[in-house]
Assembly symmetry: C2
Homo-oligomer: 124 residues x 2
DNA sequence: TCAAAACATCGATAATCGTCGATGTCTATT
DNA sequence: AATAGACATCGACGATTATCGATGTTTTGA
């Protein structure tokens, strides 16, 4: 199971067996599709400049809480757009939403960013 | 500069000044647009399930090096697609490409993922 | 010199995403 | 009850993205 013909569907990559290419890696330790999908969803939440700035503002706020109207102006985005980004961050488990009266306050979920960062570590 | 009328462009959010909303945060420590754009670009490289699996395969490879033909089969993707994903990861500074003969070998840039993960830490 | 193989690049297509105006929902105030 | 304001949701539009077939480039082996 270690020699050549890695992609029979293409008929290509039938390595000359002499040189060492196409050693299909350990086999088991590979991130499976479902896990990858879940992880990608969380990174996708961080893949937009405005969402990163939202996180920066929320986490650096004195009260560690921010309402939507605090974000619209410094980002130069309209309210529906800000709400949309906030929803993505909440769905990703990164932000926490708490409705108090008319306002909605957002805060960073404790440990959320750290655990995401930890998934980039060399070896678990 | 701490009271109300956060979004004059909309005419909205003229807070009643009695309750505490719309305190526009510290002011200086906010991630600026250029930095956010750059960070987002790197996270965007991690925001695709197949790219995460590519990283998983490359980093768990025995020789810490992988060629394209090793990736096409386990991911179920055609060669041009794999090449496309690899280019994105290389451009983001996460993977290193080395051409040896006919094959191209990829390896994780040392410290690249760690430094990205560190940008998610509580306080710099 | 020629053929074959690995990989990159191009062009096209379907899907997803960011943005915003319009509208709906809910709450507090009058 | 009615109004006003904060926020969420909807629908639309332009831009970006993932995927793949076709093709180009480069290197090895005959």
């Amino acid at each position: 199971m270690s020699t050549a013909t890695a992609n029979p569907a293409d008929g290509t990559c039938t390595a000359p067996a002499a040189d060492t290419c196409c050693v299909p890696s350990p086999g088991e330790a590979i991130l499976n599709a479902e896990e990858a999908e879940l992880l990608a969803l969380r990174f996708k939440a961080l893949s937009d400049p405005n969402r990163l700035r939202i996180l920066s503002i929320v986490s650096s706020s004195e009260s560690a809480e921010t309402c939507v109207c605090d974000l619209s102006e410094p980002l130069g985005l309209k309210q529906p757009t800000v709400s949309h980004h906030l929803k993505i961050l909440v769905d990703a488990g990164i932000l926490h939403r708490e409705k108090r009266g008319v306002w909605a306050y957002f805060s960073v979920v404790p440990g959320a960013l750290e655990s995401l960062g930890a998934s980039l570590a060399p070896k678990p």
